[in-house]
């Protein structure tokens, strides 16, 4: 199944002879940057420079292997690739490169990647300069004590301003701009400097003892239908090889190793992996839940003393419930989520149920893009069709009796008469923009109930503005809006700071008088009418006309705040049906039948999946 095109096949076995012992010839590093600054493109050039793939098999952003990454042109998953590189000093080095995503929603991928590295290339777009995630990712790297090489990328652009960017690297990042490597990943400029920089400026892995008991960290995994769970690991001491009996330290599950190897676009088997190396392990792991990201692997017979510290838990910020459209789709969804979780450690879920949609899961996401990606991956990789409920943040509800609850699910929202106060999460948003957009950003943030706390000039015309904004206002389309009002120049990063009192209401949607629980939303009172109206409009546009009138209402409690109708059709009849028409009509009906599998009946009304999803869409009006 795995094409084996590696150089190891050509006689150089990865774990044979002196290489194994020569940890000083290994470099583990990540490429980090703000979104779109060219990480994956730089990875392409490094891969090509080291010849692990033929020109015929190569394509741009080769590490972005998922369809959705290619379609959206962004990296979602960190990817590891092991590059053999013969440096100017004549020695061959093994460079374990990890390409990371730039979008905030996937920062967990970045932080896990950094945990298995000693160094990082920090890319800065020569025309965009330092942006919010440049800073955020730098801080992450510093937390892990990594050696950092700044790389100014895209110097081929006419708008590149290298001097300005150097100054930003100096002033904003506090790095020595003299050491920055100038590169154009697109045109292949500076690639050798980058490779030499990696070899000469980044440290080799700490000399973990290759003879000590095995200790390896699981930093990722994925499910392969033929081979079970494939664990991505970094060995920190000892060594692992086929035939070893290993155990997972968190649950003592134990397996016999079938194969270990390294990633070189494809999986390349190796005799063993030893301290300092990054690679994979296959051990016939069919129980999906046995593998946990952050767990430590050791030898069953000769365990190491203590597990590694693992990773910080992720804190989801938006929550939504996922239901299968097919009435018998729950079991499939259970399996799919379990398997997806292997490859997306930031996904959090628990069982949920809805009167309208049956059994499903309440899931926590790192942002709306993450939510979309999870939905799409579940649909594509596991062939499911899903309905998601409106995303919500977590609210703190303080009841009349003084008790308090954290609620993110409208279904669990208590009777309002029992509520004393409601609090919502606020964030501190740091927005970096050229100063000419100050007014536009100010009004965007105020419109989102934000409070401007501060602003400061970074380098010349660049401004960092600090706002405190309700998280609920940001998870919607804030990032897109910021991009659009700043013509792509604005970037932002945030931290949750505290919970503040708010005026929350629950809006319901009724279809022909029947409340559809999955369409309820928790919103600020000021937004309720607008949101309910928007939901009603979207539903009206997406619910196909039927034989009878369909009333769509938005309500708070018993009070109707929005109303739309889908008028019935008055006729729906094919006038002619003779010999030549029947087959075609049948095919049409069969197609409809398939389409109906993507619909839900609420009372007598067929609601297409698209209608449920349209309610989630943010307004781009």
């Amino acid at each position: 199944m795995i094409p084996q095109n590696s150089f190891f096949e050509a006689g150089r076995e990865c774990s044979s002879g002196d290489f194994e012992l020569n940890m000083k010839n290994i470099r583990n590093f990540s490429i980090i940057a703000h979104i779109d600054h060219g990480k994956s493109t730089l990875a392409d050039r490094l891969i090509q420079a080291t010849d692990i793939i033929s020109d015929r098999d190569f394509h741009d952003q080769i590490l972005d292997s998922m369809d959705i990454e290619r379609e959206r042109g962004i990296t979602i998953k960190s990817q590891t690739v092991c590059l053999p590189y013969t440096a100017k000093d004549g020695q061959t080095y093994f460079l374990n490169l990890i390409d990371t995503p730039g979008h905030v929603d996937f920062s967990y991928e970045v932080s896990r990647a950094l945990a298995s590295c000693e160094g990082a290339l920090l890319l800065v777009d020569a025309s965009q300069g330092v942006e919010a995630q440049t800073l955020a990712n730098l801080y992450l790297a510093l937390e892990h004590d990594l050696e950092i090489i700044p790389v100014i990328n895209k110097i081929d652009l006419p708008s590149a301003d290298i001097e300005r960017v150097r100054k930003q690297i100096e002033d904003d990042l506090g790095l020595d701009s003299e050491t920055a490597i100038l590169a154009s990943a697109k045109d292949g400029i500076g690639i050798e400097d980058v490779l030499e920089g990696i070899v000469n400026r980044l440290p080799p892995p700490l000399s973990g003892d290759a003879e000590a008991p095995l200790k390896a960290l699981i930093f990722d995994s994925h499910y392969d239908p033929f081979r079970g769970t494939i664990v991505h690991l970094r060995v920190s001491q000892g060594k692992i090889k086929a035939g070893d009996v290993i155990s997972f330290m968190s649950n003592n599950a134990s397996y016999k190793v079938e194969e270990v190897g390294i990633f070189q676009i494809v999986r390349v088997p190796a005799k063993s992996l030893s301290a300092g190396q990054v690679g994979y392990m296959i051990a016939g792991i069919k129980t999906v839940s046995d593998t946990r990201c952050g767990d430590t692997i050791t030898l069953k017979k000769q365990p190491c003393d203590s597990p590694m510290s693992g990773f910080k838990e992720t804190k989801p910020v938006v929550f939504s419930s996922i239901y299968p459209v097919a009435s018998d789709g729950y079991e499939d969804l259970v399996i799919a989520l379990e398997k997806l979780k292997l490859n997306d450690a930031s996904l959090i879920y628990e069982k949920d149920s809805s009167a309208a949609l049956g059994f499903g899961f309440r899931c926590g996401f790192l942002g709306l893009l993450h939510l979309e990606v999870v939905q799409e991956r579940l649909e594509r990789e596991y062939d499911l069709s899903l309905i998601l409920t409106a995303p919500s943040v977590q609210y703190e509800i303080i009841m009349n009796d003084g008790s308090s609850e954290i609620i993110d699910n409208p279904a669990l929202y208590p009777d309002p008469t029992r509520i004393q106060t409601t609090k919502e999460p606020f964030i501190r948003a740091a927005i970096i923009i050229p100063d000419r957009y100050m007014g536009a950003v100010m009004s965007l943030c105020l419109e989102r109930r934000g409070i401007n706390k501060n602003y400061q000039y970074l380098t010349n015309n660049r401004l960092e503005m600090i706002f405190e904004i309700p998280l609920a206002e940001v998870v919607y389309d804030f990032y897109d809006r910021l991009k659009s009002v700043t013509q792509g120049y604005g970037s932002f990063d945030y931290d949750i700071i505290d919970y503040r009192e708010t005026d929350l209401v629950k809006t319901d949607i009724l279809i022909n008088g029947e409340r559809v629980d999955a369409l309820s939303q928790l919103v600020h009172r000021d937004r309720s009418v607008e949101r309910a109206r928007l939901a009603c409009e979207r539903l009206r546009d997406e619910i196909p006309r039927q034989m009878f009138k369909i009333a769509i209402q938005g309500a708070i409690g018993a009070k109707i705040i929005a109303r739309k109708t889908v008028s019935p059709f008055r006729k729906d009849v094919t006038a002619k049906c003779y010999g030549g028409d029947i087959s075609r009509k049948r095919k049409l009906l069969e197609k409809q039948k398939k389409g109906k599998k993507r619909m839900k009946m609420v009372g007598q009304v067929m609601i297409p999946q698209a209608a449920f999803l349209s309610v989630l869409k943010t307004d781009n009006s």
Binding site: A575, I582, R586
Partner: protein, 392 residues
Amino acid sequence: MENPCQAEPAGIYVHIPFCVWKCPYCDFYSITDMSLKEAFLGALLDEMQIGKETGFFQKTRFSYDTLYIGGGTPSVLDAEQISRIIEAACRSFQILSDAEITIEVNPGTVTPEQLRGYRHAGVNRINIGVQSFQDANLKFLGRIHSAQNAHLAIRQARDAGFENLGLDLIYGIPGQSEKSWLADLHRAVAYRPEHLSCYMLTFESGTQMDDDRKKGRFCPADEALTARLFETTISFLEDHGYAQYEISNFARSVSKRSRHNQKYWTDAPYRGLGPSAHSFAEARRCWNFRSVKKYVETLSTGKLPIEEKETLTREQRILETIYTGLRKTYGIDIDKFNKKFSTNFEEILGERIMPLEEKGLIQRSQNRCFLSRRGMLFFDSIVSILVQECKN
């Protein structure tokens, strides 16, 4: 002859793929290039000759009690040509002596001599594409004939000795009022035709008219009005002695229904000849190329001009039986259905029929399941509800 299991007689459909002019709403296959006429005729006769012993109908030797010459515009062919077709058909297939032999003609393309010739050739039923008795409507429909032509054609057909006469009409035309449609119906029944087909104007995708509609070049008739016309038509014709037997078809008596067309709605076997014609027997269906050129070319190599074949699964047959069955006022024959599919109609469909029954859209009596008059207006939706996830 030596075929004992000849349960029900089959029908033959011959598609004449020529029209003087392509009407913008029409999605039947036809071309206006008359130079291919002779080549087509030759090929058609070949198809009969080859098809008689090979291919689709090989296994069962059918006898035929209908021959339907449709199109297109069969009346672009003269009497001699029609006669050749009928004779060849009789030579190749076992056509019963009392077979219903129908021809479709268009006003403006026929002469009295031609009509007499058709009659003489053995045609015993004629269907005239009148569409409307009003020039404005005919113009909107892009027909080549005038109201005057229509009147004339009917009289000439009667004069030529056609005792079994059918007329086609179209309603739901932009600008048409209820009164104006009733006027057309009045004129039609005045001729006491044996049969009437009244079609609601529909916009089939791929037609010029559908394209114009999408581009907003005209405004389709009001849906509610057209829906009312549907019901008006049924009551009006009932009052004038015409019973509806299919969504768009009416006859003065059971024996005057189109014997041929009923085969389509009862899963009866039929053999289609000519470009784009469909053949069907039991669970198998095939159809010819939708191109005169390809049709002629293929036959010239001695092969049948079949574009595609399909064998229906049981589920697909059930779906088609429901679809075609509910078009008839008689509806689905439940006993037959159960026997044919060795199943229980009630069990597989009862649950979905019930709510529709409550709304008065569908009815059941003894052995039948059929749409109410209102139900027929929602035929497409209802079928779609009934066949979804058809467990069987």
